[in-house]
């Protein structure tokens, strides 16, 4: 027996009570573990959705971006007149303007011949609108007719493109048109697009013959070095603000994230799932603490008769709930780390197990258990020592 300070006597009694009854301990631990894994997965899916949703705008290079007023999300833009973008050239701070075209298209797997939808970006390859490593090495090839770059983070259903290119099989079909894949890049899939392809604006027009190059999806405004972005944004708004939105890089990223958080009911769904997990966990822990108090009413009443205070009894229950939180959390976190890796491998969206995530889930679980304890404590009211003698 070690020297436990008097303040922790209640905690020690709680500990001894808890580890004495192994089946009860196992049941409670499993309940907390279940809630813990559920919360980890819900938050993981939510966050990976948000980060992956903005993987495209994160790669876009420009200082200001023009979007149609009705564009709600980048993956389904409403086109607008190229001439509106051209008007930006009237501002002295503007060095260059480049239109970006984007549209979902059909990409044929070279081995299985199955068509699958991915996002196709088209722009003048003399500009670097999307960050691509060693873009300069692809520039001249992209300017040739019917060429494209393939995003290697695309889902594997499109085929092992990198290996195929290396082995010389680099011709596939996009929207039924033969296209030569001249290289690969890294962008990242989203919930809206399973893969990405980049090509020149002219090739984009060949693949989507119905799309006029006068109708653009995003207008990139490249400012002169050292230009004041906020001032240029304000000036641009005065110039074209009637027709389009003018966003900075940060606003563009936020814009896409906000779409997933707000317009789609996804934030709510994940929040609901998290809450459900916590409520189920709380009910399980409450049930166990409540039953346990009920089984020990004579013992607790005896403690009160001896001169123990009600707060000592409350501390026993609280200490138990905290032990359960820790017992359930540790294996829950281990299992969730494993599941995050499985999820990352199977849906190709990053699932980082960050310290912040661990801290916030532990906080949730602790609160859940403490609330269960708080509810169970009401049962202590039935510990009247006068009823012990009868």
């Amino acid at each position: 027996m070690s020297g436990v300070p008097p303040a922790l006597f209640a905690a020690r009694l709680a500990w001894r009570q808890l580890i004495y009854d192994k089946p009860k301990l196992l049941a409670a631990t499993l309940g907390v573990l279940f809630a813990c894994v559920l919360v980890f997965m819900q938050l993981g899916f939510r966050d990976s959705l948000y980060t992956s949703a903005s993987s495209a705008p994160l790669k876009m290079q420009g200082q200001l971006f023009l979007l149609h007023k009705q564009t709600e999300a980048l993956w389904r833009p409403v086109s607008f007149e190229r001439s509106i973008l051209m008007r930006a050239l009237g501002l002295p701070a503007v060095r260059r303007v480049v239109p970006l075209y984007m549209s979902l298209g059909q990409f044929k797997n070279m081995d299985t011949h199955i068509q699958r939808t991915l996002m196709i970006y088209g722009y003048d390859p003399t500009a670097e609108l999307i960050h691509i490593d060693d873009f300069a090495t692809f520039r001249s090839e992209l300017q040739r007719q019917d060429t494209a770059l393939f995003d290697v983070t695309s889902r594997p259903e499109f085929g092992p493109i990198k290996e195929l290119i290396a082995s010389g099989r680099d011709i596939t079909e996009i929207n039924g048109r033969k296209v030569k894949l001249v290289g690969t890049f890294n962008m990242g899939t989203t919930f809206a697009a399973d893969g990405n392809v980049v090509m020149s604006d002219l090739n984009f027009h060949r693949v989507f013959p119905s799309r006029s190059l006068d109708q653009i999806d995003i207008g990139f405004v490249l400012l002169a070095p050292g230009a004041d972005i906020a001032a240029a944004q304000a000036a641009l708004l005065r110039l074209v603000g009637q027709e389009v939105q003018v966003l900075t890089y940060e606003e563009l990223v936020r814009f896409e994230q906000a779409y997933w958080e707000n317009s789609a009911p996804l934030g709510f769904i994940f929040g609901f799932g998290t809450l459900m997990g916590l409520i189920v966990g709380m009910v399980i822990v409450y049930q166990i603490l409540f039953t346990d108090i009920g089984n020990n009413i004579p013992q607790y009443a005896t403690l009160v008769a001896m001169g123990y205070s009600q707060s000592y009894l409350r501390n026993i229950v609280f200490a138990s709930s905290i032990y359960l939180a820790v017992f359930g959390f540790l294996p829950g976190m281990a299992l969730s780390t494993l599941l995050y890796q499985v999820a990352e491998r199977s849906i190709f969206i990053p699932f980082p197990m960050t310290l912040g995530r661990i801290a916030s889930v532990f906080f949730f679980i602790l609160t859940m258990c403490a609330l269960a304890g708080l509810l169970a404590i009401r049962k202590l009211k039935s510990t009247d020592p006068a009823d012990m003698f009868s």
């Binding site: 027996m1 070690s2 020297g3 436990v4 008097p6 006597f9 009694l13 001894r16 009570q17 580890i19 004495y20 009854d21 020990n296 004579p298 013992q299 009443a301 005896t302 403690l303 009160v304 008769a305 001896m306 001169g307 123990y308 205070s309 020592p385 006068a386 012990m388 003698f389 009868s390």
Partner: protein, 222 residues
């Protein structure tokens, strides 16, 4: 000096129509070291009187002075102070099943900031030895017989050397031999330490241990 001094105590349960008088004009004085047995028919108010004396139930009329403290209309803190100097033995042992005999007895000592862990364990083992359980110090209640469990709870009531021990039918759940053995131990330890004891019982086989027997009928001491 009297440990317990009761004058003109009246006690009733309920209000108005439902009011039921349980104790009527009780006068009772118990001296230090006395062993008193309280008997009487079922429903006569024995347990009610015991809980008032132990500071577990609040009386509002008359005078109840225990260990020098007036308990009638007293503060909770006063009653808690009296509880801490009183040992209780119930009909059921009320031991924590998760704790060993020693740990259960230590619960009565952890209330007081007087001892280190080592001293508490030492005192617990000593009293368990005195009640004849030196072979069972680390046994849990479910590994003990009914008589042994009740002896653990006697040890728990006595370990902090209370001035008063209150027992309500301590032998009711025991067979004749272990019941008598248990109260015998209780009396011997009490006599050694000058402890005052009040035992409520129906068990006529243990009346011989008392210095004095009080009979309660319908809330009135006969």
């Amino acid at each position: 000096m009297s440990m317990i001094d009761v004058k003109g105590l009246n006690f009733a349960f309920g209000q108005g129509e439902l009011r039921r008088q349980v104790l009527t004009n009780i006068h009772l004085s118990i001296e230090t070291g006395e062993i008193v047995i309280l008997t009487g028919p079922s429903g006569s108010g024995k347990t009610t009187l015991l809980t008032i004396l132990g500071g577990l139930r609040l009386a509002t009329s008359g005078s109840v002075v225990v260990l020098g403290e007036q308990l009638v209309r007293s503060e909770t803190s006063t009653r808690i102070a009296v509880r801490r100097q009183t040992g209780y033995i119930f009909q059921q042992h009320n031991l924590f099943l998760s704790l060993t005999a020693t740990e259960n007895v230590c619960m009565a000592l952890e209330l007081h900031d007087l001892f280190s862990e080592k001293e508490r364990v030492g005192l617990a083992r000593q009293i368990l030895t005195q009640v004849g359980l030196e072979e069972r110090l680390e046994y849990r209640p479910q590994q003990l017989s009914g008589g042994q469990r009740q002896r653990v709870s006697i040890a728990r009531a006595l370990v902090s050397r209370p001035k008063i021990v209150l027992a309500d039918e301590p032998t009711a759940s025991l067979d004749k031999n272990s019941g008598h053995e248990a109260v015998e131990i209780l009396r011997n330890l009490a006599k050694q330490n000058g402890t005052t004891i009040l035992i409520v019982t129906h068990d006529y086989r243990i009346l011989d241990i008392a210095d004095r027997i009080i009979n309660l009928e319908d809330g009135i001491i006969k």
